[in-house]
């Protein structure tokens, strides 16, 4: 090894070191950019969520005190149900239990508090859950929430398909004796924000699926037999009205 060779290899070591240092710096910059990309993604998500949460909510006149359900009847026992108009099990529950519930309301035994949540917007291609819930609230303003609910379940769209459009929802209403103000209410999307509130309140109440039924705050099976049993139990336990 002569001197020149030593010098050359020393220079190469230095050059390599500089290059490695440059590379390390570049890697650090790339990492910073990557963190930035993830952070931007998070901030976008958060801001969209925040903007969806805020905003004014119209509440139908027939709503309960919390403004997140439609009340029918004046009985002392509170039967609460959470349903989504596109959920097949909700239709099964509705078809099976509706007559029993109507009878209990007529007998003055219960107050039915119904939360038409829009949990399953993803099951239709046109946010049917939200629009059906909003239309049902419009029907409630006409005093025909129960009639319209029956009609919605009788015409339930298949999951994964396009649900009825707003115009079709209006037709369904007018076919069932709803007025022009109902049509206007649906067209104005008056209660679309309300459907969102019903859903987020239901989620806060720990309702993670539909149908979910409570009798005086106690969760029960979604069937007429379970409702009757719970109502009987509640009426013997506390005969005095609480609401």
């Amino acid at each position: 090894m002569n001197k020149r060779n030593d010098k050359r290899s020393a220079a190469r070591v230095v050059r390599e070191q500089i290059q490695r240092e440059k590379r390390r710096k570049r890697t650090a910059w790339i990492a910073i950019v990557a963190v930035g990309v993830l952070a931007i993604g998070g901030v976008i998500g958060w801001s969209i969520y925040a903007s969806q949460k805020a905003g004014q909510v119209n509440t139908p006149a027939q709503a309960n005190a919390d403004g997140n359900a439609i009340m029918t009847g004046t009985g002392p026992i509170i039967v609460e149900d959470y349903i989504d108009f596109i959920c097949p099990y909700c239709k099964v529950y509705h078809d099976e239990a509706n007559a029993t519930l109507s009878q209990l309301i007529e007998d003055g035994k219960i107050t039915l508090v119904q939360h038409p949540v829009a949990y399953l917007d993803r099951y239709s291609t046109n946010q049917y859950s939200t629009r059906a819930s909003a239309a049902a609230a419009c029907a409630a303003d006409d005093g025909k929430f129960d009639v319209y609910t029956n009609a919605l379940f009788a015409n339930q769209p298949k999951e994964g398909s396009a649900g009825p459009t707003d115009e079709e929802l209006i037709m369904l209403g007018t076919d069932n004796g709803l007025s022009e103000s109902f049509a206007q209410c649906v067209r104005d999307k008056k209660y679309v924000s309300w459907a969102g509130k019903v859903s987020s309140d239901a989620s806060k109440a720990g309702v993670t699926g539909t149908p979910t039924i409570f009798v005086n705050g106690k969760k029960i099976q979604a069937s007429s037999a379970a409702i009757v049993a719970a109502v009987n139990e509640a009426s013997t336990a506390t005969p005095s009205p609480t609401s």
Binding site: E16, V33, A34, Y49, G209
Partner: protein, 163 residues
């Protein structure tokens, strides 16, 4: 190995992009999927659920482009560990939920049993892919390779040039 890394990288990118895209159209539902795990207070869970799809898409894009691959692989691995522990804990507590990994989420209707084991195995598979990328981050067609080519590291490049 760079070709294998490319396949793993693109595979993992597809996983995150799909998972994110399926949830991003319905943020409240994504939030409710997190709520169903009953691990966080409601407001926090809803917020996490809203952010998660965007986070997944951003992570998927990093992997797709091959930008900061090793870093993205670490984040992917950490994310998978969180998902797997979430499912395991839901299973251990006997919750009857959909994992909400790819869309849906929330409580299952009565009569339907959750499929926790396949979900966990699938996520372990994704975790393995992420770990592979941590070990072999260099891949073909990556932004990393273009922005920051390997120079004389352990003489690797000299070998390649020689061959």
């Amino acid at each position: 190995m760079q070709w294998v890394s490319l396949l793993v990288r693109l595979g993992l990118a597809a996983v995150f992009l799909t998972a994110g895209a399926l949830k991003v159209t319905d943020l409240p539902a994504s939030g409710r999927a997190v709520v169903a795990y009953e691990l966080m207070p409601n407001d926090l869970a809803m917020t996490v659920g809203a952010i998660q799809p965007f986070f997944e898409i951003a992570l998927g894009l990093l992997l797709l482009l091959g930008l900061a691959t090793r870093f993205a692989a670490w984040v992917s691995a950490a994310t998978m560990v969180v998902f797997i522990s979430g499912i395991v804990s839901a299973w251990a507590r006997g919750l009857n939920i959909d994992c909400g990994c790819f869309s849906k989420g929330g409580h299952l209707p009565p009569g339907q049993t959750p499929s926790y084991l396949p979900e966990i195995l699938r996520d372990v598979g994704f975790l393995a892919m992420a770990i592979f990328l941590i070990i072999f981050p260099a891949s073909r067609f990556s932004l990393d390779g273009w922005l920051n080519p390997v120079v004389q590291d352990e003489g690797e490049q000299t070998h390649e040039q020689a061959e």
